[in-house]
Symmetry: D5
Subunit: 188 residues, 10 copies
Amino acid sequence: MGIIGSTLTPFTATAFQKGKDFFTVTDADLAGKWSVFFFYPADFTFVCPTELEDMGEKYAQLQSMGVEVYAVSTDTHFSHKAWSDTSDKIGKLTFPFLGDQNHVLSNNFGVLRQDSGLADRATFVVDPDGVIQIMEITCEGVGRNANELTRKIKAAQYVRANPGQVCPAAWEEGSDTLAPSLDLVGKI
Amino acid sequence: MGIIGSTLTPFTATAFQKGKDFFTVTDADLAGKWSVFFFYPADFTFVCPTELEDMGEKYAQLQSMGVEVYAVSTDTHFSHKAWSDTSDKIGKLTFPFLGDQNHVLSNNFGVLRQDSGLADRATFVVDPDGVIQIMEITCEGVGRNANELTRKIKAAQYVRANPGQVCPAAWEEGSDTLAPSLDLVGKI
Amino acid sequence: MGIIGSTLTPFTATAFQKGKDFFTVTDADLAGKWSVFFFYPADFTFVCPTELEDMGEKYAQLQSMGVEVYAVSTDTHFSHKAWSDTSDKIGKLTFPFLGDQNHVLSNNFGVLRQDSGLADRATFVVDPDGVIQIMEITCEGVGRNANELTRKIKAAQYVRANPGQVCPAAWEEGSDTLAPSLDLVGKI
Amino acid sequence: MGIIGSTLTPFTATAFQKGKDFFTVTDADLAGKWSVFFFYPADFTFVCPTELEDMGEKYAQLQSMGVEVYAVSTDTHFSHKAWSDTSDKIGKLTFPFLGDQNHVLSNNFGVLRQDSGLADRATFVVDPDGVIQIMEITCEGVGRNANELTRKIKAAQYVRANPGQVCPAAWEEGSDTLAPSLDLVGKI
Amino acid sequence: MGIIGSTLTPFTATAFQKGKDFFTVTDADLAGKWSVFFFYPADFTFVCPTELEDMGEKYAQLQSMGVEVYAVSTDTHFSHKAWSDTSDKIGKLTFPFLGDQNHVLSNNFGVLRQDSGLADRATFVVDPDGVIQIMEITCEGVGRNANELTRKIKAAQYVRANPGQVCPAAWEEGSDTLAPSLDLVGKI
Amino acid sequence: MGIIGSTLTPFTATAFQKGKDFFTVTDADLAGKWSVFFFYPADFTFVCPTELEDMGEKYAQLQSMGVEVYAVSTDTHFSHKAWSDTSDKIGKLTFPFLGDQNHVLSNNFGVLRQDSGLADRATFVVDPDGVIQIMEITCEGVGRNANELTRKIKAAQYVRANPGQVCPAAWEEGSDTLAPSLDLVGKI
Amino acid sequence: MGIIGSTLTPFTATAFQKGKDFFTVTDADLAGKWSVFFFYPADFTFVCPTELEDMGEKYAQLQSMGVEVYAVSTDTHFSHKAWSDTSDKIGKLTFPFLGDQNHVLSNNFGVLRQDSGLADRATFVVDPDGVIQIMEITCEGVGRNANELTRKIKAAQYVRANPGQVCPAAWEEGSDTLAPSLDLVGKI
Amino acid sequence: MGIIGSTLTPFTATAFQKGKDFFTVTDADLAGKWSVFFFYPADFTFVCPTELEDMGEKYAQLQSMGVEVYAVSTDTHFSHKAWSDTSDKIGKLTFPFLGDQNHVLSNNFGVLRQDSGLADRATFVVDPDGVIQIMEITCEGVGRNANELTRKIKAAQYVRANPGQVCPAAWEEGSDTLAPSLDLVGKI
Amino acid sequence: MGIIGSTLTPFTATAFQKGKDFFTVTDADLAGKWSVFFFYPADFTFVCPTELEDMGEKYAQLQSMGVEVYAVSTDTHFSHKAWSDTSDKIGKLTFPFLGDQNHVLSNNFGVLRQDSGLADRATFVVDPDGVIQIMEITCEGVGRNANELTRKIKAAQYVRANPGQVCPAAWEEGSDTLAPSLDLVGKI
Amino acid sequence: MGIIGSTLTPFTATAFQKGKDFFTVTDADLAGKWSVFFFYPADFTFVCPTELEDMGEKYAQLQSMGVEVYAVSTDTHFSHKAWSDTSDKIGKLTFPFLGDQNHVLSNNFGVLRQDSGLADRATFVVDPDGVIQIMEITCEGVGRNANELTRKIKAAQYVRANPGQVCPAAWEEGSDTLAPSLDLVGKI
């Protein structure tokens, strides 16, 4: 089976979150909530802050949708804190950053670049049962889009909440959905 | 190494394209062009047509950007033709459909669901050197977004054309890009 | 042991049958009945419809003999339905079509052509105990013959019903059968 | 790949043919001709003579079509001769019998029943290139049909002679054939 | 350990015996009796009948000594019967013939010639405990000698009945035997 | 392949022969002559001398037939000499004795009893090409018969000298032989 | 062989050094110079800065002795730069810091703590031939001593420069050394 | 895991200690105390005595700190005694010497030079739980420093006694220590 | 561990001893007594008798010391008896000879020469616990010395009887022994 | 093959010899001379000096016979020198001592006691071709005998110099030897 539909591999990581003491996050902490794993290559670099800032702007909305966001790089939690302390943009972000310097999460999700020791620019959405539902990776230099991510999470939440309904392409909250039936086969 | 940055596995497939005789497509045919592999589960089903229609609306623009689109499912090219012949929506689409009933492409890209024999709802963008640069998978019931895909391809083309420049999050054509430099380290 | 005399490998497949909702067929559903697995390469192709039509003309008779017919290709049940909906010849057929897009049945019976992902033009007759009693495969371009198949099923049913009797070559219902005995050894 | 379309495994066997001295047959002797391998369980038994007699009646016609018939069992050529000498029915048959007491042919064609050391009631048609084109197996007690076999060989010969033509179900010599084309896809 | 002194490998075979219906023989049927396995290459051949006839002349005597004789070739029991029915010499023989067309006995005793699928011209004497006590093999064209075999079986029976006695070379019933003792070491 | 028809495994052994210095015998020395390997368990024991004496009485005849006799046990050539020196019966024997204390010959011919380190009471006849043609083994206590051995060697020599002729059971020199032909199949 | 006396495993790493652009360091760059690999667990932590500061105070002296110092942690070169930019103590250090986020150096020297993804507090001295001559590791919480390290490097340089001389315990530059000779064996 | 933090491998060795009978030392004897394993290449050699003498001068202090010192070489305990008996310098040393002529300790600690059969010039400090906390190896000709070793043991004892405190670089007893806290991250 | 100090491998052998019937010897029979295994190449050869005679002269003394002597060669017990019966020198020997024609003892003690199938000229002394204490092997042509063997057995018995005492070089019964003590280390 | 008759395994060792500088000995140095490897457990122990002294008394004679003596223990050459310097008895010995602290020689000759790291009390005599001709091992506490060793070396030298002659048991120089011949077989 591919990664979509598979269950999260157990993990333990140390997190930095602005205004809190360092704390431990495990797969058990995710149960019952939607989670976004937002991998980026390295602290103190270039595209990453714009992507993290973009996520920061959606964080309140995602929180209200019951979604936690975990930023992850192969830096330590010490480095995450230092970045937060010294960068205006990062200092404003209030979601947790996981230290993956032991490469466990990057390997679990298959996004570690062995040569460089850095993670891909990859996003994974995990549902309240720990099942991965949505993923995306872009190459170096291509920033992601928090707006589109939010749209897809909404669709996934809608589908979970409304069995028998599916969301068409580029569906936006409030738009029509489809209810598959035998009669529709070959008719769309 | 993960899939991003890896080179396309060689393949041979039979294609249906409206108004043409069946023809063969191989990895060699892709050299020098950008390609989108747009996997969907099955002909004659529900979400798929909306996503394919969504892609169809962008096809002219993508063509003008030098991008070919290959729709792929584990159906045969016969089935693709029959769908095109009998569905208004599909009948309007002019990009080629690849028959992957031997599961070669789905396996190469790691998106075959073994139990059902169907492919994931997955998109891969391959650059003119045959290197995979962008990928995305969504779960059943969540439609993709051709607009966002186009945005990411534009960013990837921009980065390829402008070495030393990177596109920030949610970058749109014409917006500012970033030129990484030592001075920026820890300053963004 | 060869395939004749071997027991059906367990399977699960989704079936399309005209006028019914999609349904699941497993090996357990076959117990107690005679079954014909009628493999053909692909929906929407050439020889296949004539063979399927030929089977269609015998279907009522086979039903009355306690025989169910399963048409099988590596197409999906969606595709089967679409073919039925759009083809006059196929639209008249009332036996179930199994979707074998995951290649399970084709592999179980050893008739998958790996390169093309299509099944051979193969027929298997399974008795009420799930034991394969008769098989036949022809190359591309050579159509089978439902009349002859019916003759052989009748012979197999006769032999099952009359232990100690065997049917001679080209036996037709009502003709003489033979009762092997020591005295006949070397005497025929 | 399945057996249809595969090439004959090389073999050497000793043959008995009425009115001739014992002689050797190898795969090389088959090149350029059509061949039928007609397996049956054992000399001096029951159904077999009727099937062999049935083949005997078609032998002149098959010869005229360029087809040689090889009857094969796991008996020796000595036993074949003795049967021919002592049985009226067998004594009339003029096609060669191969002695397969070393099980080479039965194993090559996959029709040896290991426990009993006897072959299945199986027929294989091999084309002039040594490629197996048609096969059939029936269970104990169900006789084959030389008429139907002849029909199928004619169809195979027709298809070989007329590239681009295919024979529909139950096709008889002189009937219409089909020429597949793109336009026919989904139209039959 | 060599074959002499080893225990018979379990087997099941179908036997033909003049005047009886076909019946099954297993190693269990041999317990408590002396048995001769008299292998020969093939029914309907040349030296074999003289050897079998030679055995036939001793059969009454062997029976009276408590010895059963099993003639064995890789022919079927059907073939054995046919030979008996049609050959004057074989038709007079009343000991059972085992059908070894599945090669089980020939392999168990190590006398199958793989290439030809025929057994060696081999004799094995098995005692009432299933232990092989005497064996002999001759090449093609060299007939065995039932008289000498009978002499050796008598010696083996004598030794079994008289522990502590051994039979000298070319011993005939009634001649002197030897009782080994320490004093004889180096004295004969 | 079984032992009959197989070629002698190369060996080197030291021989004792009355009236000669110890000498070496290898498989090369046997080429072009008939040889008998006459295995017996041990020097200075009981049955063995009677069997060796029995062979001794035939030795002149065998020599005149071009046959050399090699007596073999797992004793040394020293022991063989000592036995010859001290036993009246053995002292009269003039054929060579091979010392097989390294078990090479006993293992080559498959007649070493591992537990006791002694050879079986086994005879092998090797033709001038080094091919084993006749063999015999008897259990402990059952003496062999040089007369019968001579008869079989004569038959083997006759068959070698007269291709196309075979010797019937219990054939004695001068008796009729058989010439197999197709016409005889099933007629004896 | 242990690590002392072994040759440096080839590596490539990216370095940060105050006032310079990022640059690449490989084992080849070390040839002909003495090198110190000074591993520490993580940027932005506690004991580490005091140890690095301690090294900083000796750096000029080590440079004058022909020794380069490489500080190494599993942080990136980006993180090293950020630490240098924001910490007064680290900002004063002018030796290069290697980014070992891919764990290559930590694994090569056997000092990676797999669970935490951090390096031990370990020091290695490599001579101009790439051979490791001195090493030291202390547990968490125990700071090293740059003075003692300098003393040991001086001794190693003295020994290299003066073959036949050895430095006694706690040797300081200018103190007496020893010249081993046979006469001294057992005399000290 | 590296050696620091790993637990002592069990061992048994025979010790010589001045003024005592030979006695056995095992890992169990070390429990609850701090231990120093002080490896040196060989008795009766050059640098070793100066290093051992240097340790001798610290022995009383180390004893008072609860630390036992074990000198170890691949010589026997007999050799150790002889050295002590005949060398003035060694004769003054009162700590135990372990005989490692079976290479168990040298291998356990990874410091055996296979070619020469001698140990490296290596020091290991083991805490009362049997965990290795500090290690050091120098090349041939470079003497160690008992003063620095004592400093590091004091630091390790301090850290063990004062959880939450760490000793900075070159820390000496009585100097300040550090208490890591979140606020210090990135602030030193 | 080497052979000295190892325990005898279990064995069973048949023994010849002058004036007794053949009997079985196993390792269990040796318990509680001292045993000498005196291997020699072959009965009826040259040096061997002088060595065996030499042992014969010491046999009474060894017996009185509680030592049994087993002469062993790869000859049978039959051969041993014959040698004893026919050789004046061997006929006088009253210790048992073991037949090792199955090579078990020669292999157990590692003294079988594979090529020749003969044992080395080897002596092993086994103590009452079955532990091998003394061994010796000489090349072909070099005779052993029963006197020296007796001297060594006496020393071994003395050491066993007097724990804490050791016998110096060339010790003879009644001479001084040594009691090792710490004070003697390095003093002899 | 056993050790007698095998060729010395190549080795390199450092030797101490009174009055000389340390030097290297390899197997190449032994070519053309007889050598004795005289293993003993440890320097500075008890039985060993008496055995070494015993060898010392024969050393001049052995030298004159062209035999070099190598004393070997798992001590270093340093230890050997110290023992020589401090022990009156050892100080008188002028043959070389090899340092085997890397266990190479003890392992090559199979006499290393793994647990204790000491060699057995073993002697090996090597001829000028590097072939081991004589060996002996005694248990702890049993001293060897240089007189007997000298006797055996003389015998081995005699046999080498006089092909065809063998030395009887307890042979002393000047005594009679034997010339084996066929006539002597079974006559001694």
